[in-house]
């Protein structure tokens, strides 16, 4: 159990059997009154967000979450199949569940999957992935300015903004947490 003073943004808790995450947190304390911890909460099963306030004396259940290491195996239709590094058990995650993260998954990628009662809830990719630029307008010769960007596509069609000096075939590093260009790894 957590006490209300443990609550903070990002904490995973359980409400009515559902795993939830605190997405916003505010401490209030009126005049001579008791502390009130006002939380915005997202239900990780349904995706619904709601608000809930706790008093200092309230207890909040910890979400029984388990995180395991997986390796990406293969793609089948809209499903992405990962295998447990220890038990080789396979887990399917749909393109919808993965969202934009699916664009950054590469062969044999090591990922962490978060489970609640054996149901996969969330996936954490390595922070950076290297991808080849499949399509972009040619950059002007000698132009190394980094604050000017242009659109580019990687092999699976995902579009990012890259500096003007990036060309087709270059290998770039993408930050999987933001989905944004980070730096150039190699010239094509």
């Amino acid at each position: 159990m957590y006490s209300a003073s443990d609550l903070r943004k990002g904490l995973k808790i359980e409400i009515d059997g559902d795993p939830c995450v605190i997405t916003d947190f505010q401490f209030s304390k009126p005049g001579k009154g008791q502390a009130i911890y006002r939380c915005k909460i997202r239900n990780l099963n349904t995706g619904n967000s709601f608000e809930k306030s706790y008093r200092s004396v309230d207890k909040v259940k910890k979400a029984a979450l388990e995180s395991r290491d997986f390796t990406f195996s293969y793609e089948a239709g809209d499903d992405y199949i990962f295998s447990d590094n220890e038990t080789y058990e396979e887990v399917h995650l749909s393109a919808e569940q993965l969202g934009d993260q699916r664009f950054f998954i590469v062969e044999d990628m090591q990922v962490e999957i978060l489970f609640h009662n054996n149901k996969a809830l969330d996936i954490t990719l390595p922070n950076f992935v290297e991808k080849a630029i499949a399509e972009t307008e040619p950059g002007a010769r000698g132009d190394t300015a980094t604050n000017v960007t242009k659109p580019a596509k990687i092999d699976n069609g995902y579009e990012i903004n890259v500096p003007i000096f990036i060309n087709e075939g270059d290998i770039v590093r993408i930050d999987t947490r933001t989905g944004e260009y980070s730096d150039r790894v190699a010239k094509g």
Binding site: S5, Q26, F27, S28, K29, P30, G31, K32, G33, Q34, A35, I36, R38, S53, R55, S56, V57
Partner: protein, 284 residues
């Protein structure tokens, strides 16, 4: 941050000038106390075999009992576990007392003070002051009367979630006459003992100051502290020793009124900051 430091300096100068022009004297009272004030929901930070003060209130009243008439202090205070965009465990309180008046005298002082501060800092606190009773705002925005049917939990939740967001932001707002259960050291209203002579000031919807007609009855004061001590015990919170010297002083203390005003929050409002982070240069 340098701008906030300059604004704080200007604010401090104007506050001291105001109080001195009104005949108040600046006092300094102990930061470490053996017996901090026993409030239900305010927790003192231990410091060796003492506690850091949560307010200079008890010491100020001892000075009034010894003959001081108008005093103020810029007091560093400490409250355990209070941290948020409007809270810091260490903060600066401006506290002042004058003998002879009641909470409405304290309101006039506060209005004059903010008028003086407005001149020193180039941001206006505009708008006519609006004064509401606690009953009025609860009936209007929360649909119940906390004086007739007191419910501590419901009061705090509704105040934070239903009342405070609805208070006007373009003028100073005063809520007055709190349920008798919610006055730590305030006098009950003569002829209407179900409410206490206490008000709270809100600027920009942010709670900025708390004022009382001070309770001078040592028997009633002791009974309140003992009641909160028992409740604190039932919550599993530390129960502080009672300050016997304070009760003795209350017997000699003349009728007085006092205000505690959060200076860091006032500065936030004067410089249009969203959080204490913008005005406190050292935040953990």
């Amino acid at each position: 941050m340098i701008e906030a430091l300059k604004a704080r300096d200007a604010l401090m100068q104007s506050i001291r000038a105001f109080f001195h022009s009104e005949g108040f004297i600046e006092v300094e009272t102990p930061v470490r106390l053996r017996t901090p004030c026993m409030e239900l929901h305010i927790d003192a930070e231990p410091s060796g075999d003492h506690y850091l003060r949560t307010s200079p209130e008890l010491c100020h009243k001892k000075l009034l009992a010894r003959g001081a008439e108008k005093i103020f202090e810029v007091a560093k205070c400490f409250r355990q576990g209070e941290r948020g965009h409007l809270h810091n465990p260490e903060y600066t309180m401006l506290e002042w007392y004058r003998t002879g008046g009641d909470y409405m005298t304290a309101l006039a002082d506060t209005q004059n003070l903010l008028q003086a501060v407005r001149c020193a800092v180039p941001v206006a606190l505009t708008g006519e002051w609006q004064i509401f009773s606690v009953e009025e705002v609860f009936e209007k925005f929360a649909g119940w009367n906390p004086v007739e049917n007191f419910d501590a939990d419901r009061f705090d939740f509704d105040l934070v979630e239903k009342i405070e967001p609805e208070l006007p932001k373009d003028c100073p707002v005063v809520l007055k006459d709190y349920p008798a259960e919610l006055c730590a050291l305030a006098r009950l209203k003569p002829g209407r003992p179900e409410v206490a002579e206490r008000w709270e000031l809100y600027l920009n919807g942010i709670e900025i100051a708390n004022a009382y007609s001070e309770l001078t009855d040592p028997i009633e004061q002791r009974a309140r502290f003992e009641k909160w001590g028992a409740q604190r015990h039932s919550f599993g919170k530390p129960v502080y020793d009672l300050d016997e010297e304070f009760f003795q002083c209350l017997e000699k203390m003349p009728q007085a009124c006092g205000v505690a005003l959060g200076l860091d929050r006032l500065l936030m409002i004067l410089v249009s900051a969203k959080s204490l982070d913008e005005v406190l240069p050292f935040r953990e």
